[in-house]
């Protein structure tokens, strides 16, 4: 095709509105078109910024910035050769000459026009509703205004108890306001849930401190007596508040259609057909401004489908593409309350029957609506527990025949609940609704060679939106692979067809001491970031040699390699060990002086020690030399190793203490420090049952009794907290240590890669009772060996930093450049709260290395 030919066929597409759907359309066209000249795109946005994620808008109050929420940026649009204008509100369409005109009088000609103008919050015509602190919740600017108003407010009211209203109420609560929700209907979320669900939802939300007023119509907003305003309701009651947020529904921005002769619905919305065309064939409407079969789809997923259809129609890449409505089922968490709504939640279908399960004490409500013959799922309401949502949705979407007793699907009959296997789903079943990926798409990808969830994610994009489908996706993929006789592998990576435990046994039995030996005999290729550190950790657990040995260096994660934790800007943090949290004033002063000298950000950690941040790689040895000189040691904050042994002050000082918890904590920390394990290990020792050291949340928790120590095992804080299990009671010092030795060694041998003891325990067949049998009764006859294993590694402890400082070869690695003494000019700090922090991208200046410049100046002066 010649260039001129291409010019002739160039199609001008103008998109009005750059919300989530408008942007999705642009992205689709940019991907589908043959070249940028084949379809020229112009985007006109009324807002002062390009598209952002409205769905996650509330996270703005959780600290996300406008930049974090952005779905695109100017550079990307320029890259795609998309012409765009912000602050460009379109006020008129000239359909005869095919032009759009903006408020400022600029005109743009089009071949195809796409209206993606979305919707705006409906503000009911209440007298006094237009005062300065009466706001809405739709754009980033709205949220900024809310934030400003909230600063001078104590009480806030949300008018409207729908989905968005509750989200807005949560935001007000987070901003520290005493919060009320006022709803006209007799229940909350009347669209999605039934009366029973609504009742429970109200209880739960009130428990969280938000006051809910249902069946209240606001008559007028007057000046308040205690607060800024006063709402007067039609029943004569009143409510004082400092601010009002309207969330009483949305209305489509259909004025461009209405004023320019396009067909619009009776209650608003630009009418479209299943190709997303309006009554003018050259004009399309998508997203929340479009009305399809008398319905506005107020969710983002249907909008994305429309965007895709319109793009394929306009580019003629798929003439079959059509929008045929969408399922509006939703699952969400509102103020921590799980809510799910599927299909015909209200049982409006002729002859439908329903089953309800309500558990008031636990705050769970579940209802399913089935067809008259009890064969098909029509809808469901779930409040307080949405674990069955995926299954129920699949039953409905795919018209899968229900089991004999459909109620079993929602009854809490532990164990024998009929589960919907991935096999039962038809190929048309939607697995990921955000990205519209079906089971058929997944099977096709597997046919084309995908062999893992990761492959499927990258080729189908499934599970890259809200992430809610990830469990189901894994289920389907594993099942499909299994069906084809592909063994779903536990291999740690492509280089070793073994699990961590198998590798551990091989290393031990065959006395293997290097990665090369292991990969030569039992693996392929040259390793990767998964197997190398795993093998490094196994070698360290079994042999406990110095980890920066020449052969060990390439195996370690950067943190282990540089014996410090890498931060986002490539600098490191430094954590000296402070056993049991006990430290002398002298050592504290040294830490303070070192931090001051090297200008390090200093913070008390959650593990009772002190973290110094912002050290460049080349500064690490000097800093550690000073710390070691003062008698401090490495804290292994970088290693999958023993971290901290937290302690409370115990019987030495505390009037309730019954044992010396600090002494025991220090003894434990000194015994196990440096030992490498499948994951990090934390301990704590409390001096009495008040448990001030929070020992039950640690891998090993020790709590003093008047007869000795109670030992708790396999607790966890972090992402999925787990209380430790009481393993043994009233132990003397010696038995306590013996049991810890054995359990710790058993975990090192049998734990999976990056498996904390909590997960290890949860996966252990026989659980706590089994572990007690192994460790206390020596059921497997391995206790001697476990103890010997421990004694061997304990005997070999060295402070890795001390060893490193004595080893010139190892020290050579601690420099940014092999050929220059300059420092990395991309590392830049700014001051915040009197200390340094890494500069953000936009704060960075292109400076030349300052140390170097000052050196050069000094030389000249000489």
């Amino acid at each position: 095709m010649s260039a001129s030919n291409q010019l002739n066929t160039a199609q001008k597409i103008v998109v009005v509105g750059n919300g989530m759907v408008g942007h999705h359309f642009v992205e689709q066209v940019a991907n589908l078109r043959e070249s940028a000249t084949a379809a020229e795109i112009t985007v006109l946005s009324a807002e002062n910024r390009l598209a952002y994620d409205r769905v996650h808008l509330s996270e703005f109050f959780g600290g996300k910035t406008a930049q974090d929420l952005a779905l695109t940026d100017e550079a990307t649009y320029s890259d795609w050769q998309v012409d765009f204008r912000t602050n460009a509100k379109v006020s008129k369409i000239d359909r005869v000459n095919k032009l759009v005109i903006t408020e400022t009088g600029e005109t743009f000609s089009y071949d195809k026009l796409v209206l993606a103008t979305g919707s705006y919050p409906f503000v009911p015509p209440i007298p006094g509703g237009d005062q300065p602190h009466c706001l809405v919740y739709r754009t980033i600017e709205d949220l900024e205004a809310i934030q400003r108003t909230a600063e001078s407010s104590k009480v806030g009211v949300v008018i409207g108890g729908g989905l968005l209203g509750l989200e807005a109420a949560n935001a007000l609560k987070q901003l520290g306001l005493q919060t009320h929700v006022v709803e006209f209907a007799p229940q909350l979320m009347a669209v999605q849930v039934d009366a029973g669900g609504g009742r429970l939802l109200k209880d739960k939300i009130e428990e969280l401190g938000v006051k809910v007023h249902t069946s209240k119509a606001t008559k007028v907003i007057e000046q308040g007596e205690v607060c800024r305003y006063k709402l007067v309701f039609s029943d004569g009651t009143e409510l004082e508040t400092d601010m009002v947020l309207f969330s009483a529904g949305i209305r489509p921005y259909d004025n461009l259609g209405r004023e320019n002769g396009l067909e619009v619905g009776e209650r608003g919305g630009i009418v479209v057909n299943s190709q997303c065309q309006t009554s003018d064939n050259e004009i399309y409407a998508i997203g929340e401004c479009a009305l399809y079969k008398n319905f506005i789809y107020g969710l983002v997923a249907p909008g994305y489908t429309m965007a895709k259809v319109a793009a394929n129609q306009i580019l003629a890449t798929d003439e079959q593409a059509s929008f045929n409505g969408a399922d509006m089922s939703t699952k969400l968490k509102l103020m921590g309350v799980d809510v799910g709504s599927i299909g015909d939640a209200h049982g409006k279908t002729e002859g439908s029957l329903s089953y309800t399960y309500e558990n008031q004490p636990e705050g769970v409500y579940k209802k399913i609506v089935v067809s008259a013959d009890k064969k098909l799922m029509l809808g469901a309401v779930l409040v307080g527990d949405t674990s069955e949502y995926d299954s129920l949705l699949q039953y409905m979407l795919n018209a899968i025949e229900l089991p004999e007793a459909p109620e079993a699907l929602i009854l809490p009959m532990a164990g024998d609940k009929p589960t919907l296997g991935a096999d039962a789903l038809p190929d048309t079943a939607t697995i990921c609704s955000c990205l519209n990926v079906t089971k058929g798409d997944i099977i096709e990808a597997i046919d084309l060679g995908a062999t893992s969830v990761g492959d499927i994610k990258s080729c189908t994009k499934a599970s890259t939106g809200c992430g809610g489908c990830s469990a189901l996706l894994k289920n389907v993929v594993d099942k499909e692979l299994e069906n084809r006789g592909v063994e779903v592998k536990k291999d740690i990576c492509e280089h070793f067809a073994y699990s961590r435990q198998e590798l551990f046994d091989i290393v031990k039995v065959e006395k293997i001491s290097s990665f090369e030996q292991l990969v030569d005999k039992h693996g392929t290729g040259s390793g990767c970031e998964i197997c190398k550190p795993t093998v490094g950790s196994i070698l360290a657990s079994v042999w406990n040699d110095y980890i920066l040995d020449k052969a060990q260096v390439p195996l370690q994660d950067t943190n282990d390699n540089f014996l410090a934790n890498m931060q986002k800007d490539g600098t490191y943090s430094i954590v000296p060990r402070i056993p049991g949290g006990e430290i002398t004033p002298e050592k504290l002063i040294v830490i303070g002086e070192v931090a001051k000298k090297y200008n390090l950000y200093t913070k008390i950690t959650g593990g009772q020690r002190i973290d110094l941040f912002g050290a460049r790689v080349d500064q690490l040895p000097d800093i550690w030399a000073e710390l070691i000189n003062a008698g401090l040691e490495t804290g292994h904050a970088y290693g999958k190793a023993v971290r901290t042994v937290k302690s409370c002050v115990g019987s030495t000082w505390c009037r309730y203490g019954v044992q010396d918890s600090v002494g025991m904590a220090i003894q434990i920390e000194d015994r196990y420090k440096g030992i490498r394990a499948p994951h990090k290990i934390k301990f704590a020792v409390s001096g009495c049952t008040r448990e001030c050291a929070e020992a039950q949340s640690k891998d090993f928790g020790v709590i003093a009794t008047d007869k000795g120590w109670n030992l708790y095992v396999c607790g966890n804080g972090g992402m999925k907290p787990r209380h430790g299990d009481l393993f043994a009671t009233d132990l003397d010092d010696e038995t306590l240590i013996k049991y810890i030795d054995r359990i710790f060694a058993f975990y090192i041998q049998t734990g999976d890669r990056l498996q904390r003891t909590s997960v290890w325990m949860d996966n252990m067949e026989g659980g706590l009772a089994y572990l007690q049998k192994v460790v206390i009764d020596d059921h497997l006859g391995v206790c001697d060996e476990l103890e010997a294993q421990m004694a061997n590694v304990i005997g070999k402890y060295q402070c890795e930093w001390k060893t490193t400082l004595e080893n010139p070869e190892a020290l050579k690695r601690f420099r940014q450049f092999v050929n220059s003494d300059k420092t990395d000019s991309n590392i830049q700090f700014v001051t915040e709260r009197e200390q340094i922090r890494p500069a953000r991208e936009e704060e960075k200046i292109n400076i030349i290395d300052v140390t170097h410049v000052s050196k050069a100046v000094a030389l000249e002066e000489e």
């Binding site: 970031e529 550190p533 950067t558 800007d569 490539g570 940014q816 450049f817 991309n826």
Partner: protein
């Protein structure tokens, strides 16, 4: 254009760390930072790529773990673990790329074609 390129010495073979990386500063080329990896098992022996991690936005790639994926030599970023091919500079998991430079060992010196 390739004929205007030249081999530049950046360091000595003694500076290399086997199966791992080091970093050199190219003063002539606007202070560009180059990560250099020594992989004795590979026929090329040495590889050179940008040190800047475009995803983590920091100069850290030389501190990553090296290895292979489907036979292709790679380095994994120490920040967020994405792998970059040492041959092409392409990121395996995401849409991102760094520059890969031709590198060689000549008379005990590590050289890069620029």
């Amino acid at each position: 254009m390739s004929d205007s390129k030249q081999w530049y010495t950046v360091c000595s073979v003694n500076d290399l760390v086997e199966n791992s990386g080091i970093c050199a500063l190219l003063e002539k080329d606007d202070e560009k930072q180059i990560a250099i990896f020594s992989l004795p098992q590979q026929p090329e022996k040495v590889f050179a790529v940008d040190n800047f991690d475009p995803i983590g936005k920091a100069n850290v790639l030389y501190r990553g773990i090296t290895g292979s994926t489907q036979g292709e030599p790679i380095v994994a970023s120490p920040l967020y673990k994405q792998q970059f091919s040492l041959k092409t500079g392409l990121c395996i998991q995401e849409e991102a790329a760094i520059t890969a430079y031709q590198a060689r060992i000549a008379e005990q010196e590590v050289q890069i074609l620029l």
